[in-house]
């Protein structure tokens, strides 16, 4: 990968929560203008990585640079300026429940710009049209399904035309139609506007159709990187297990526990 093309550079990052190490010596480059997928088994810290990239938490050591700005020494004001160039789609949508769909999408515009109401209306309707929910503009978040909430949240994330768009598990709970729409939208935003996209996902098949680069995380480290095609033939057991969805392999399916039959036959009390 061309290093100068990286919009996000992560170098030797260590991060621990409550004494449990999440990342040890993490190195990563997110290419500018490309779609980068971050995959890995549950509990590998994919969402934590997004929190580190967006400055919601600070790494214990190492450096993270976003658009040539180090997050270690950044002031709150500068971080907010940087975040205006980023959009994030949360796993559950995170819509503001006291505002309508229209007002949710208009929220960043109203907070950060003095645009006339007519222009705000046009921008919001354009973004809602892109996610297929222009007709739901007057609904409240409580009236939406999970997938619809996610699509409204996506419209909100792109309303300020960000340079970096971060998707946290965007495909969970979507029906096949919405899933196809979101996949095409991710690709289209990337191609048309040159947005850098970071997609955290478990869905190997779906993400392989849109991602330019893939990072596979496990045990707090990058265990594989490359294009989706390269990962298909990656010479590593852990990659084969993840891509193939096999229960047995280097990543244990079972949480560490005493012997199964021994525990069933013992007279111990329920935990």
């Amino acid at each position: 990968m061309n290093q100068s093309a990286a919009i996000i550079e992560i170098r030797k990052v260590n991060y621990a929560v409550g004494g449990r190490s999440v990342f040890t010596g993490l190195d990563m480059d997110i290419a500018r203008g490309r779609i980068t997928a971050i995959m890995g088994p549950s509990g590998t810290g994919k969402t934590t990585l997004l929190r580190l990239i967006t400055g919601q938490v600070v790494a214990d050591s190492g450096s993270i640079e976003v658009a040539a700005q180090s997050l270690r020494a950044i002031s709150r004001a500068d971080l907010y300026v940087l975040r205006r160039r980023m959009g994030m789609l949360f796993q559950n949508g995170a819509l503001l429940t006291d505002l309508s769909v229209f007002e949710n999408v208009a929220f960043p515009l109203r907070e950060h710009t003095d645009l006339p109401e007519r222009l705000i209306r046009q921008l919001v309707l354009t973004k809602l049209q892109a996610v297929g929910l222009r007709g739901a503009a007057e609904l409240m978040p409580a009236e939406l399904s999970g997938g619809m909430s996610r699509r409204v949240a996506l419209a909100r994330a792109i309303v300020m035309d960000p340079e970096i768009l971060i998707y946290d598990e965007p495909f969970v709970g979507l029906d096949p139609i919405s899933l196809g729409v979101i996949l095409r939208l991710i690709r289209r935003l990337n191609d048309a506007l040159g947005i850098t996209s970071i997609v955290v996902s478990h869905d190997v098949k779906e993400i392989s159709t849109v991602a330019d680069n893939v990072y596979l995380l496990s045990g707090g480290k990058v265990v594989a990187r490359g294009t989706p095609q390269q990962l298909q033939s990656y010479p590593s057991e852990i990659v084969r297990q993840f891509i193939g969805g096999e229960a047995d392999g280097p990543v244990p399916f079972h949480f560490p526990a005493p012997d199964y039959f021994g525990e069933l036959l013992s007279r111990g009390e329920s935990p």
Partner: protein
């Protein structure tokens, strides 16, 4: 020895907790000038905390006043001074019952609503989403709710006291037969500005305390259903204790 160690650690824990609340209050105060420019947000919160609490405050004020009328009449007639009922009820309401009962009801109605709303916003990532949109949730969400509570509480206490006085008048004058002229004239002659200002100071301080506890607990709630429930409960319990403790301090200070 072990008991002393535990007491010491509890004391340290309580002081750390108090320090965190004071630090949070300072953060709210620093953010207040910019938040004050968004009058629409504060007006909405005055409506949520104040207007939506009106019915319970007015009903409670009426009943408390009626009970004061009954009890006051029963006590005062023993000394043949039932005409002083207006004075007794008004001083009781304006200086003590108005601010204290309103604050307790405010904590139960508006305080719990604030804490659970903020806790749920935390649990559903709404506050994180605002952070990600470069919008400070303290300034956009917490300060308007805090200021709304601070402004609404003294107004509610005043309404409570006024309705309470009419409740006492209803029972004392209309039912028990105290002379109406005596009821109002003695009240006007005996109740001074210092009595009213004590009530105003109390209700303002209780407003700050209740609103602060509610937004602090809600904003720092553990983002789970259990965490939000616990924050709501702690809001009511902490508010009640703090209100009664502050009530003693302010009363002593005014003597």
């Amino acid at each position: 020895m072990k008991l002393i160690r535990e007491l010491w650690s509890s004391l340290i824990e309580a002081l750390v907790g108090l320090g965190l609340v004071v630090r949070f209050l300072l953060r709210l105060v620093v953010s207040s000038p910019r938040a004050l420019m968004r009058c629409d947000l504060i007006a909405q919160q005055i409506y949520n905390s104040g207007a939506l609490s009106l019915v319970i405050i007015m009903l409670s004020g009426l009943f408390v006043g009626m009970v004061l009328g009954l009890q006051g009449y029963e006590l005062l007639q023993r000394f043949g001074s039932e005409e002083a009922l207006g004075t007794a009820a008004t001083i009781g309401l304006v200086k003590e019952l108005g601010p204290v009962v309103t604050a307790l009801l405010f904590a139960g109605r508006a305080g719990t609503a604030l804490a659970s709303e903020l806790g749920l916003m935390r649990a559903t990532d709404q506050l994180s989403a605002m952070e990600m949109m470069a919008v400070d949730p303290i300034q956009r969400v917490v300060v308007p709710r805090f200021l709304g509570g601070v402004i609404a509480m003294p107004l509610l206490a005043a309404i409570f006291s006024v309705i309470g006085i009419y409740g006492a008048q209803l029972v004392g004058v209309q039912i028990m037969g105290v002379d109406s002229g005596s009821f109002w004239s003695q009240m006007q002659a005996s109740v001074g500005l210092s009595d009213i200002s004590e009530g105003i100071v109390k209700s303002c301080i209780f407003g700050v305390a209740c609103s602060l506890i509610a937004v602090y607990e809600g904003y720092h709630a553990t983002p789970t259903a259990e965490g939000v429930g616990r924050a709501t409960t702690r809001t009511v319990v902490a508010s009640a204790v703090v209100i009664l403790f502050l009530d003693y301090l302010i009363t002593a200070a005014f003597l």
